[in-house]
């Protein structure tokens, strides 16, 4: 036994020594945990926050963010807009790809055409659902019909390289948030020669991606880690304090928090279950995401066509209680259909600060509205089906909470319809087979129209089939209005018009809770597009 004990002790000592040599890295390494993996780094495909984080670590678009999170020039050194707001000219700075080639205007043209050609996830962002680039809608319609696009077709897109350093983009209507849009990864440039050489493998491994950004991808083991090192050739390299960025991928919140405690993570997102345990910790922090969770009533249901019924539903929800006591993850009650911190007005104010609050909790008023509705409908009680996807957390929590809230009203019965996200959207909602759907929307760009467009009668996501000619006319006016202040006021009017009719019933704006090493400074978070920018992160020793 003595021999055995001594062997065990020797083993433990050896391990302890080995442990001294390891660790998450030096003072200039930032380790970032993520619950999801990087899908790939192809601007044509990637459509999730984790991939965006990684892409932005290696690639700069025309515009980027400064250290305060404001839109700033990146690869574009200068940006001019024609008087009619339809022609944007970008002068590019001298920036290099990591293979030594210069970043040219043609790299942007190629990347944008490629998304349309390959029916990329964000092809629609080139057309009237995003940048309004001329020719984009026609090209997207062709691919939708299964047509193969020729180079001649693609050249009809209104993005042209006038010379190596000048990119001219023509639009079908003015887009006041165009600069903001240009920070979105689908507008990033791609080096054509490199991408064609890599073929199908492009952007699917560390070796198959070129960098023109703050970091160069050093390695990526799917399901495990991705490491990035500082790009010494980056045009803004002076601002980059980190030597190394490590992403620990696919870590469950509990595991990520454990690893944070052991010092292996500098940043770890956590979920509601862990909030109570960490909320008093110095490292605890919360972020407001852009995602709005809301209820979509079906206007083809005769009961739900009644305004008072929809009003009763909205009044019966104690949004603050749900966000602060149930979710606890930094989520906040939604006061309107446009989330907070999304859209900044001409005078620098947030849309929500200018807009009215359209949601209150008042059970008595809710009951009165329901009674009124029942009377108008000539019914003694109403049964509504509340549909939600069980695979889109925390939708299930929200549905349960709402069921409980609605059944407090006398005369209202709620039946739960649990399904999957895919079935909810593409079968039940698309075919109008629902009463009320628990749904959500994440912004494509930082302008209120990314939400307000959803309620236009011809919008594909208007599954509730709310049709209002005045609203459509207002939205049409907004899309062509060149004066930013007028446009801002029109958007406020549009939200009010929709909210007064309870077209959709906003519930909460999603938040993220995370643990962040207090010695870390400069991590920039944005609820739209790329969630985290690592360019300005520094770590005190």
């Amino acid at each position: 036994m003595k021999k055995l004990l001594s062997v065990l002790m020797a083993g433990t000592m050896a391990l302890s020594l080995a442990a001294c040599g390891s660790g998450s890295g030096g003072a200039n390494t930032f380790t970032f945990a993520s619950e999801l993996d990087i899908k790939n780094l192809d601007s044509c495909d990637a459509d999730d926050g984790t991939s965006f984080n990684a892409m932005h670590a290696v690639i700069d678009g025309l515009m980027g963010l400064d250290e305060d999170g404001n839109i700033a020039n990146a690869i574009a050194e200068e940006h001019t807009v024609s008087d009619d707001g339809l022609t944007h000219t970008f002068k590019l700075r001298d920036a290099k790809w990591s293979n030594g080639e210069p970043v040219t205007a043609q790299d942007f043209v190629y990347a944008w055409q490629r998304i349309i050609k390959n029916v990329g996830n964000y092809a629609y962002m080139m057309g009237s659902d995003g940048a309004h680039i001329t020719g984009a809608d026609e090209l997207i319609a062709k691919t939708g019909n299964g047509e193969e696009l020729t180079q001649e077709d693609l050249d009809t897109l209104g993005a042209k390289a006038e010379d190596d350093k000048t990119l001219v983009v023509t639009l079908t209507s003015p887009v006041s948030y165009f600069e903001e849009l240009m920070t979105f990864p689908c507008y990033y440039p791609i080096n054509e020669k490199f991408a064609e050489e890599q073929g199908d493998g492009y952007a699917k491994s560390a070796e198959a991606i070129l960098s023109n950004g703050a970091f160069v991808m050093e390695s990526w083991t799917p399901g495990s880690t991705a490491t990035f090192v500082k790009n010494e050739d980056y045009w803004n390299a002076d601002q980059v304090k980190l030597d190394k960025l490590v992403m620990n991928l696919v870590q469950e919140p509990t595991v990520a928090a454990q690893n944070f405690d052991s010092g292996s993570n500098d940043f770890a997102p956590i979920d509601s279950d862990l909030v109570d345990q960490y909320k008093d910790n110095d490292a605890f922090t919360t972020f407001k995401e852009g995602f709005l969770f809301y209820l979509q009533p079906n206007f083809q249901n005769t009961d739900l066509q009644n305004l008072n019924l929809r009003k009763a539903l909205s009044l019966a929800i104690d949004r603050e209680d749900f966000a602060t006591n149930v979710l606890k993850d930094g989520s906040i009650e939604a006061n309107g259909f446009v989330p907070e911190d999304l859209s900044i007005g001409p005078n620098g104010q947030d849309f929500r600060d200018d807009a009215k609050d359209f949601t209150t909790y008042d059970l008595e008023a809710a009951q009165a509205a329901l009674d009124q509705a029942l009377q108008e409908l000539g019914k003694s009680e109403i049964t509504l089906k509340l549909m939600y996807g069980t695979d889109e957390s925390p939708m299930d929590t929200m549905a349960t909470y709402l069921q409980n809230a609605f059944t407090k009203l006398n005369g209202l019965n709620i039946e739960m319809v649990a399904t999957t996200k895919q079935d909810r959207i593409y079968n039940k909602q698309a075919n109008g087979e629902f009463d009320i759907s628990c749904t959500r929307w994440g912004p494509d760009y930082g302008d209120a129209t990314t939400y307000l467009n959803l309620m236009k009668s011809d919008n594909v996501n208007n599954y509730g089939k709310w049709v209002n000619a005045d609203y459509d006319a207002l939205m049409a006016q907004i899309s062509t209005e060149a004066n930013v202040e007028t446009r801002w006021n029109l958007m406020l009017q549009a939200e009010e018009m929709a909210m007064n009719d309870y077209v959709n019933i906003p519930v909460f704006q999603k938040g993220t809770s995370a643990l962040e090493n207090p010695s870390v400074k400069g991590l920039v978070f944005r609820p739209v597009g790329v969630p985290y920018t690592f360019n300005y992160v520094s770590k005190e020793a």
Partner: protein, 314 residues
């Protein structure tokens, strides 16, 4: 090897191949009937979604999709990931993940068997003493607590508190960072092997030939190592098969807890993302390993003891 043995092996091989094919058909259908879809971004319009589905051949009738998939499989093409790692080759994803899981499983099995046999022998030789009770208690704990709970415990104690072991797997330190998952996984192996060894050893020690050996005046060391232990070890082979299969399922959760980028973690993540081709490849590989193990066990039984050959024999 006799003619009948060769024939027996071929027979088992044929049955295994048929089983594998049936499994593939069932898996393929089950995966396609899973609720959800790999393409479920709500920002996509129905037309865009249909176009993406068509690009993956998901619009074809199921039998046609199956034929296409099997055709690809025979040439080593397991398709591409549709959601988790968009458009990456599944073969390369599985090719990176599987060796890590195999390494963990194998190490856990070897470690567990050695420690288990040692503990079992100690318990049997010291029957009804404190060592015996201790081993029994350890075995009960090992059998009843799932391996991921051990993983969590080791993570908290040796990782977070004592900082002896790394809390997550790192491909830069594949051996050092594998210690924690290997120990966690080996717990149930230790428990099972120890209990089995103890029972076998006690029964062997009570058998007539051991009594004869004692009567012949052989030393205790000779009796234990030359006769008792040898005869105890042979039946242990029989439980290693099920233990290895058990380990395979255990690795799934342990990999998730210890952040090991192995096959189990890939399978769980792919199921969550409804990533058809990845689920199929991982599940099929698990099934193939299981069948291969069963085949090896059957064949080795058949060779060791021709009386227990399964199926008809001449």
């Amino acid at each position: 090897m006799s003619k009948s043995t060769v024939r027996y092996i071929l027979q088992r091989l044929a049955i295994s191949l048929v089983t594998l094919f049936v499994i593939l058909v069932v898996l393929f259908c089950m995966v396609r009937f899973l609720p959800g879809s790999p393409i479920n971004n709500e920002h996509l319009s129905e037309a865009q979604r249909a176009a993406i589905e068509a690009s993956y051949g998901l619009n074809l009738p199921l039998p046609q999709q199956f034929v296409k998939y099997v055709g690809g499989m025979l040439t080593g093409d397991f398709g591409v990931s549709m959601n988790l790692y968009k458009d990456m080759q599944v073969s390369s994803l599985v090719g990176t993940a599987a060796p890590i899981s195999f390494f963990l499983g194998l190490c856990a099995c070897i470690l567990g068997t050695i420690v288990g046999i040692f503990l079992g022998v100690v318990a049997a030789l010291n029957k009804n003493t404190i060592w015996d009770t201790l081993t029994t208690v350890l075995s009960v704990i090992g059998v009843s607590i799932p391996s991921f709970v051990f993983a969590m415990l080791i993570l908290i104690i040796f990782g977070s508190n004592l900082h002896i072991l790394p809390t997550m797997y790192s491909s830069a330190q594949p051996i050092y960072s594998a210690i924690m998952p290997i120990i966690a996984l080996s717990m149930s192996v230790i428990a099972n092997v120890a209990r089995f060894t103890r029972t076998e050893m006690i029964s062997v020690l009570n058998s007539d030939y051991i009594m004869l050996a004692k009567a012949k005046g052989l030393s205790r060391k000779d009796i234990i190592f030359k006769h008792a232990l040898r005869n105890t070890l042979i039946p242990i082979i029989t439980i290693l098969g099920p233990i290895l299969v058990n380990l395979m399922t255990g690795t799934m959760v342990v990999e998730k807890v210890c952040s090991v980028p192995g096959l189990g973690k890939l399978l769980i993540n792919s199921i969550q993302a409804s990533d058809y081709n990845v689920i199929l490849a991982c599940a099929f590989l698990y099934a193939a390993m299981y069948i291969l193990m069963m085949l090896v066990i059957d064949v080795s039984y058949g060779i060791i003891d021709p009386r227990i050959r399964l199926g008809k024999d001449e």
